[in-house]
Each structure stands twice: as structure tokens, then as C-alpha cells.
Symmetry: C2
Subunit: 99 residues, 2 copies
């Protein structure tokens, strides 16, 4: 995977609102208005977070004029899982090692 892409993905995940948006979208696609509700955040505020997530490839937005549903692009999270998986041996060894 391109280095820049991982930079964008991790930077996008470094914010609790953006992680909460992903958790909401894991349940199913929804509109920006619905997404904004639990966060007590303005639509422009949420839209800014959505742009960061979209640029990182973590969400996609529909092209329908009135209702542009957001949906999770879970394949990008699999890329995070694949990246971190290379360290599995390290944490398994560190847990086995006596303190």
C-alpha cells in the first residue's frame, strides 16, 4: 500500500468523532443530518470530518442530489488490520516473556 495512503488513514482515525462516525456507519449507511445528531455538532463541522474520512478512503458518499448517504468503506479498515498484523509475532512474544 502507498505510504501516503496509510498516513491519511491513520490521521483520519486519530479523532474520536471520526471513529464514532465509522462506528455509526458500521450499522448501515445514513445521511449527514442523521450522522450529525448524536454529536451535537453543526452540519459544517460534521462535513469537515466526513471530508477527512472520504479522503482517507474510509467512507464513500452517494451522488444523489438531495440525500447523499454516507457508507463505510470497510476494506480500508482491513488495510489497517493487515498493516498491524505484521506485528502480531512481537506482541505474542512480549506477552509470553516473563516481566
Amino acid at each position: 500500500m502507498a505510504v501516503d495512503r496509510l498516513n491519511l488513514i491513520f490521521a483520519a482515525l486519530a479523532d474520536p468523532t471520526r471513529r464514532a462516525i465509522l462506528a455509526r456507519l458500521a450499522v448501515g449507511e445514513t445521511s449527514v443530518t442523521e450522522l450529525a445528531k448524536p454529536f451535537k455538532m453543526s452540519l459544517p463541522g460534521i462535513s469537515k470530518h466526513l471530508k477527512v474520512l472520504e479522503r482517507a478512503g474510509l467512507i464513500a458518499r452517494g451522488r444523489e442530489a438531495q440525500w447523499r448517504p454516507c457508507r463505510l468503506k470497510a476494506g480500508t479498515l482491513k488495510e489497517v488490520a493487515d498493516w498491524v498484523e505484521q506485528y502480531r509475532r512481537c506482541w505474542e512474544e512480549s506477552f509470553e516473556r516473563p516481566k
Copy 2:
């Protein structure tokens, strides 16, 4: 896990030099001087990255006066793996779904 901690971890991972430092430390602990070599970076430059990694709990540094070896704290990467694992169902479903 505390929300702030995940913020620090993901922010620390959003940089290619810091990810490369983790990859080097996965091989074994080493000194800052050794770590700096492949990056053509000044010691203060590398030290700045190490501070970010240390604050996120991704590395630890020895307390020996002359040689302060850096080592990977792989358990923190397991926390990333655990976080992303909650989305496994989503990416498995998205790969099964016809395009």
C-alpha cells in the same frame, strides 16, 4: 481503552518515519544513534519522533545514562488490532457482496 490514548496512537502512526522506526524496533531494541542512520535525519529530528512514539506508548526507552536503548511496546499495537477487529464483519461482508 481511553479515547485519548487511541488518538495518540493513531496520530503517532500517521507518519512514515515513525512507522519505519517501529518496523526497525520489531527486529530488536537499539540506540537512537543506530535508529537515526537509515533515515538520514539529525538526532534531534529522530528524538522528536521517538517522543511522539513514547507518549503514545508504542516504544519505551531504557534509563541507562550512556545508552538509552529503544524498544517496541508491541502490546500497544495489539490495541490497534483489537480496535480494528470490531470491523472485521463489515469488510468480510463487503467483499462477499456483489459489486
